[in-house]
Symmetry: C2
Subunit: 498 residues, 2 copies
């Protein structure tokens, strides 16, 4: 058994090396690569992907897994978890024919280009035929998997292993009226002043402040770095080399602080995984939603909290004395939490964000089921925006064309953003029971107890558990909206005096 396991680990180690090499190349592409390098880089990545796929779907791996699954049946150990996760990956990868993968690459490459152009002209009609092809692919994709309660299950499972569409719909069904009610209440409350957030803040100073914050959080720059890129993201080449990117937008200069906290939240998760899992499929976060729970916790539950700014605001004010002249920590806290229904998901506040997600989930299911004609998508989008948020996008660029996901074939991904928010609040309630003086610690700029808790309960386990099991074990219940609703009502009740 140990010989077979070692052989499996050897092959999976090489697959991990190839995938991490690909991640370095992708990171470089977004951070450093000169414009001329794109075509060759595409070929490098295609070759690495092809070899990785061949190695991870070989008959040898299949046979090793068959034997090892039997051996490890009912065993509870890291090796058993490795075999289980590797077997699931193998099953998924071998179900999808390689011709389909090639076709998908061709279709989504063209769809991505069409999306960029369509978004630029704010014209959905030129993207429509591409989206129809992507939907056709998605429909064929789900047929490669065993029948399920809902075809969307197979898509969701790629990002949230084991999660069912019906579960998400039930959770969202409970959440939606609560969030809509809260937004209505806020709408009739006294508006919050936030003009000082949109003054000029020097890029270098904002960037340095962001690095001070995430260093204090516990993001380890000895095993990571923060670079400038068009979009903030986190990527990992090893538990000891986990990098983040960030950006600076003059129109929203302090957003850099929050995207830095967000990506550092992802990165601290990866930096905290058991080093013994290196070069195995366990050396990843559990799922997209659990990953997002970490980023959103550091960004929102910590980084948009009053104790946090009671600690950091004096330093921020010292850095930007003119811009923040006459502003108190409390009024700064209110400003960064201002609720305002808006068109663009990535800019949405905590009270409205999930509604953007619910809208997308409904549309994705409608497209997959065929109950929704792609040509009607802009109109349906706009109607739903009016229903949920009371606003109508001025054009497709601010509506149906805003996200990259559909052009890239990323169906099933959106719900995990909202689930991440929910999990973050579930964990937060538990953490506050375990660390009684957490607010006081944050007020002092101390985050080590929090990070130690997250490391021990979540990070160190890597991909060992399934997301629902992990959340159940740690927070005491499966993924559920109630903690998040309590969190929102309390926070915004205080801010808006509801």
């Amino acid at each position: 058994m140990s010989e077979k396991l070692n052989r499996l680990k050897e092959i999976l180690g090489e697959v991990s090396d190839l995938n991490h090499a690909g991640s370095v190349l992708s990171w470089d592409q977004q951070v450093n690569m000169p414009p001329g390098g794109g075509e060759a880089r595409g070929q490098h990545l295609a070759t690495l992907g092809k070899i990785s796929h061949e190695k991870s779907t070989s008959d040898e791996v299949g046979k090793l897994l068959d034997d090892l699954k039997r051996e490890f049946d009912g065993v509870d150990s890291d090796d058993a978890a490795l075999v289980r996760v590797a077997a699931r990956n193998y099953d998924k990868a071998t179900r999808v024919p390689s011709e389909f993968v090639s076709e998908q690459a061709v279709v989504t490459t063209a769809a991505f280009d069409a999306w960029v152009a369509a978004k630029g002209r704010s014209d959905f009609s030129t993207f429509q035929p591409h989206l129809e092809k992507v939907i056709d692919l998605m429909r064929r994709y789900v047929t490669f998997f065993p029948p399920s309660d809902h075809p969307y299950d197979a898509l969701l499972d790629d990002y949230e292993p084991g999660m069912k569409t019906a579960e998400v719909q039930e959770i969202f069904g409970k959440l939606r009226p609560q969030q809509v009610k809260l937004i209505k209440a806020i709408k009739s409350a006294r508006p919050i002043k936030d003009d000082f957030l949109h003054k000029k803040y020097a890029e270098k100073k904002v960037w340095d402040f962001s690095e001070v914050i995430i260093s204090k959080f516990g993001y380890d720059f000895g095993r990571g770095r923060q670079d400038k890129a068009a979009h903030p993201f986190e990527t990992s080449f090893s538990v000891n080399d986990v990098r983040i990117t960030n950006r600076y937008e003059p129109s929203n200069p302090l957003a850099t602080l929050f995207s830095g906290m967000h990506e550092a939240g992802h990165a601290m998760y990866e930096q905290g995984i058991n080093p013994a899992y290196e070069r195995t499929p366990l050396a990843n976060g559990v799922s997209s939603a659990v990953h997002e729970s970490q980023s959103r916790m550091w960004e929102n539950l910590v980084g948009r909290s009053l104790p946090f700014w009671e600690h950091f605001f004096p330093e921020l004010k010292k850095t930007f004395p003119t811009q923040l002249d006459g502003v108190s920590a409390k009024s700064f806290y209110k400003a960064i939490n201002k609720v305002e229904p808006s068109f663009i998901r990535v800019n949405a506040d905590e009270a409205t964000y999930n509604l953007h997600i619910m809208l997308r989930l409904e549309l994705e299911i409608g497209m997959l089921e065929g109950s929704l004609a792609i040509k009607d998508l802009p109109e349906i989008w706009n109607t739903k925006m009016q229903d949920y948020l009371g606003i109508t996008p001025p054009d497709d660029a601010h509506g149906v064309l805003q996200d990259i996901h559909w052009s890239a074939g990323l169906f099933g991904y959106f719900p995990t953003y909202a689930l991440g928010n929910l999990i973050s609040a579930q964990l937060w309630e538990k953490i506050n029971r375990d660390i009684r003086d957490l607010d006081e610690q944050i007020h002092k700029g101390k985050f080590d107890a929090l990070l130690t808790w997250l490391r021990a309960k979540i990070h160190v386990h890597g991909h060992k558990f399934d997301p629902q099991d992990l959340v159940q074990n740690v927070a005491g219940s499966k993924i559920d909206a109630s903690a998040y609703v309590r969190y929102l009502n309390k926070k915004y009740g205080d801010i808006y005096g509801l």
Copy 2:
């Protein structure tokens, strides 16, 4: 035939992708990687190297090459050159057993660490046993190849395909007395004042000036970039992504300008290779010496020439008015060409540089033949330094321990540095016959005719020809010392009034 050729190109394309991916990873390691990332990076590179080696030495490749060699015998075409170069690479790679390659990696990794430590303490004795092991490896390495006139031939051939030890010795034999004579004459001439070179020059301004120069040369930043690293180097991921690194040393601040020109010279070579050669073994420079001829030409024949500084000095003086107060273009030109026997090869001027190389070649041959005991190396080094340059290193760090090469098993590499100098002068004479007003163009800061010439005669051909054939075809004679001797005597005759 075309089917076999296509299959070969497909495999070699993947090998090229894997090697280029490895180059990206190595570049990142030296430019960006946080300290924690080293161990994992070593594994990524080992896996890429292993798969690349497996693919390039497979029986399938061997059979394809056997068939294609016969088909292309006597044919003169790009495809014929590709088959010839690929067959040579295959032959070399398959002669060396993989156990040897693994052993070499282990020995040189330990030797490198020992060298770093020994250099730090300036104590050769702790490096000695490691160097003995490396020499043992080198001796075994040459036995994998067919008997030759001299065992060193096999080492030299790795960097300078087809070149023989006897040829190098003959060239150096003619060159040595000429350089020694020149240095003696300079020694009794009036010394040159260069104190202003060692004032404080702000790093950012020097760096920007360096980028102005290499942009004017024609280094294409749309297909490249310059980053900071511990050592200047050039690396290529595609003809459309060729990067350089540079450094800034406060003790020798303007050296950044010259190392920038040097690396840009390498990089323009790679950027100028026929794009049709992408993903084949032809998409490289011909040899280490021809590569070095390009870097040294831009650094020295262009960048340390009087016309060059007649153009650039006014701008440099405007950038550094205090530092260069009272300095003329002519006196600046003399200062950057000051001849002074010194201990460290990489800092040596044009008149003394090659002597550092000749010393190393003699020692390498002595070590390989066994005519020289490793323990005596420091003493022999110092004696030869006294013979050739009239100075004796104060310690091993400034003597036998200064270079990384031996710890890394890079035997046979050193001579190509000097050969590159010689080729650069051979080409320069030919270029000046073809571009009659070259000096005048350089004086105007115009380099396009020069670069166009180099592109057409050298760069575009990539690895299509063997180095000696290329030099013969372009310059009219094989690699030879006479042009370089004429160049040195003319240049330093003028500068020192000899």
